[in-house]
């Protein structure tokens, strides 16, 4: 045993990996750290701009209320709330008044239900990804394929949800330089940060598909280890981690 092991005193003297990880995995960690800085700067910017505006006045609509009929004579939901001063250029809008839509429930007030669903989709696809990693550690090729397919489905489901949310938001009049809900920064930052995150999800899905094809062709079986799954898994979990903070900042704060 003495010939094959090197003591910890020699960590940085060469001939071994100082962190006991492969260079690829270390580089993935360092890349994720730099990517985390990028997202942090966007979210710090969001938080700072958000709180340089006053908060919206207290206003409540009961959940499951049919707001489409409730505000019909005032010309619509947005028009009625603008008239009452709930949506105004002078203060930030309340996210539960803006993001209260759900597919197939037109006009029903369901604040934050849809983004919670998106959060659960992403958390669940993270679980299937980590199950694929676990299967890879056991060199179980069939299971890796199965869980990678689940993860890719989760990724596409999330992207579909985001496309629906953007479409809804754009239909209501949100653009990069203005929106009917409040200061122009609101929609501009929303498109910038969720777009940046959505692009990361898209890249993650592409990586996952590449990994799935490689696995089905037996590349990792030939190589003798499934570390590629772990490295892509790190990226996919990072995307989930960023969504935790996008969710916190855009919909809760």
């Amino acid at each position: 045993m003495s010939e094959t092991t090197i003591s910890t005193e020699k960590t940085w003297s060469g001939g071994r990996s100082p962190f006991n990880v492969s260079y690829g995995k270390l580089m993935m960690w360092i890349f994720l750290l730099s990517d985390a800085f990028t997202f942090s700067s966007l979210l710090v910017g969001y938080g700072a701009i958000r709180y340089s505006y006053p908060s919206p006045p207290e206003f409540e609509i009961p959940v499951f209320e049919d707001v489409h009929h409730m505000f019909e004579e005032q010309g619509g939901f947005i028009e009625a709330l603008t008239e009452q001063g709930i949506f105004s250029e002078g203060h930030w809008p309340s996210p539960d008044m803006v993001f209260n839509h759900f597919p197939f429930a037109h006009g029903i007030h369901l604040p934050l239900f849809f983004v919670s669903l998106m959060t659960f989709i992403l958390i669940f696809s993270s679980v299937t990804m980590v199950l694929a990693v676990e299967a890879g550690q056991r060199k179980a090729r069939g299971e890796v394929t199965k869980y990678m397919i689940y993860t890719i489905i989760g990724g596409f489901a999330f992207l579909g949800c985001q496309a629906w949310e953007w479409t809804q938001f754009i239909h209501e009049g949100a653009t990069l330089n203005g929106n009917p809900f409040g200061p122009w920064h609101f929609a501009a930052l929303f498109f910038l940060v969720t777009g940046f995150h959505g692009f990361h999800v898209f890249s993650g899905v592409v990586l996952n598909i590449v990994i799935l094809i490689n696995n089905m062709m037996g590349t990792y079986e030939k190589r003798g280890h499934y570390e590629m799954i772990e490295k892509t898994g790190l990226y996919w979990h990072f995307v989930d981690l960023v969504w935790v903070f996008v969710f916190t900042f855009f919909y809760l704060i």
């Binding site: 990996s17 985390a36 340089s52 539960d96 990804m129 980590v130 676990e134 979990h237 935790v244």
Partner: protein, 117 residues
């Protein structure tokens, strides 16, 4: 899983990969349940606590707790060496500190706007 037992015979940094360790799936499902519960808790707090800085700081702390579970369990950070943990985690602690400082600073900008109007 002592780090001294790792085999460095014929060490080639471009291809060397440590032997994969399997830690089972129990912790993963437990983490999934914790993450779901915290997300539901977020929504409940959103509708029960009045808006303001204390609520925001609660949400950021809950976000950091969720992030910690993702990094330590899903990304297997628990099983990495201490030096790698520090390389990744320490910079992020400073970033979280910056987020809190900027929220408080922006609240002051808002106050300045109010004074100047």
């Amino acid at each position: 899983m002592g780090h001294n037992q790792i085999n460095y015979d014929n060490y080639d940094p471009t291809t060397w990969v440590p032997e994969a360790e399997n830690h089972g799936t129990k912790a993963l499902w437990k983490t999934f349940i914790i993450l779901s519960v915290i997300t539901v808790l977020d929504i409940i707090l959103y509708f029960t606590i009045d808006p303001g800085m204390p609520r925001n700081i609660t949400f950021i702390i809950l976000g950091v707790v969720k992030a910690a579970f993702i990094v330590y369990v899903f990304m297997h950070m628990t099983y990495e060496k201490g030096s790698l943990k520090n390389t990744i985690i320490l910079p992020m602690i400073f970033v979280i500190y910056l987020i809190m400082l900027m929220l408080i600073e922006a609240d002051f900008w808002n106050y300045l706007n109010y004074l100047l109007d």
